[in-house]
Symmetry: C2
Subunit: 171 residues, 2 copies
């Protein structure tokens, strides 16, 4: 059974929608996601670091469409680990664990990894939206499209949706 390491933010968790909502609450201005292509996350969201370090931010983040159903099916065919670089946001640990328990109850505590650097992850497949994580990974890599990576040229297999992941990994 092949092991897949699946990222949370930008893959399972729709952090862009959450950053846009927090930005609007703060400033009254609603940013349009289509205009954020090519900007790093903290360029797109100047207060993003403060928001991501606010308790509750990761607890109420919406799901990326399709992630729950397709991860459930992957979980039957692969050894799935959900791997999040959560240590970067010290207040996020409880929020992220509770969020996973709520939305992905089929992922047991044994399958969750909160880390800093993902270099320590041993798996055959990695799905992530950040090149820094995929570039150092030795197995098969899937770059999940998000505005911050959309203009990047990359040798990783780009996927635009969970449906595309299903087509590639669930045949």
């Amino acid at each position: 059974m092949k092991r897949i390491a699946v990222d949370m933010d930008g893959v399972l968790a729709d952090v862009y929608s959450q950053f846009i909502a927090y930005h609007e609450k703060d400033s009254g201005i609603r940013l349009e996601i289509d205009k954020l292509d090519g900007l790093a996350e903290f360029e797109a969201f100047p207060h993003g670091s403060r928001h991501a370090n606010t308790r509750g931010f990761f607890r109420t983040v919406p799901l990326v469409p399709g992630s729950r159903d397709i991860l459930k099916r992957l979980n039957e065919k692969y050894e799935v680990f959900v791997v999040s670089a959560a240590m970067e946001f010290p207040t996020s640990l409880d929020d992220k664990r509770e969020w996973l328990n709520e939305h992905f109850p089929f992922i047991s505590w044994r399958q969750i990894v909160f880390c800093g650097s993902k270099e320590i992850v041993k798996a055959e497949i990695m799905i992530d939206d950040h090149l820094k994580n995929l570039d150092k990974f030795e197995g098969d890599t899937f770059l999940f499209s998000q505005p911050h990576n959309r203009r990047l040229q990359t040798s990783h297999r780009r996927v635009d949706s969970w449906e595309e992941i299903a087509e590639l990994l669930l045949l």
Copy 2:
């Protein structure tokens, strides 16, 4: 630079002293550590699971003697990751992160891993007090002696103290 995965509970954190203290606070009875050899942790401490799931338990746990100074020196010679199966105790995440920050400030957030199963850890060396973690690890293994493992026959290199780790890994 070789990578070492260092366990927290029973290696950096002296959980036996903490279990004994919590047991005494609960029952008025002070257990003698010398009489706990060969008992699994939750046999030795019947209320251990409740105590370990109490907020504060892992925040105030004492250090295993020598762990701070020798880990600091290992951190200069190796790529150190502190890897804890913290997901087993859902309330422990914040406590463990704060405890590490206090006692091991030279360990950055990039070097911390909270997981369930340690099968996902990629490293050359693992120091742990549980056979279940060492048995599935492919690199060099060091079994840190604790009462629960003291009577077990094992092919892993047994170490009784941090001074012994220093002799083996810092020459």
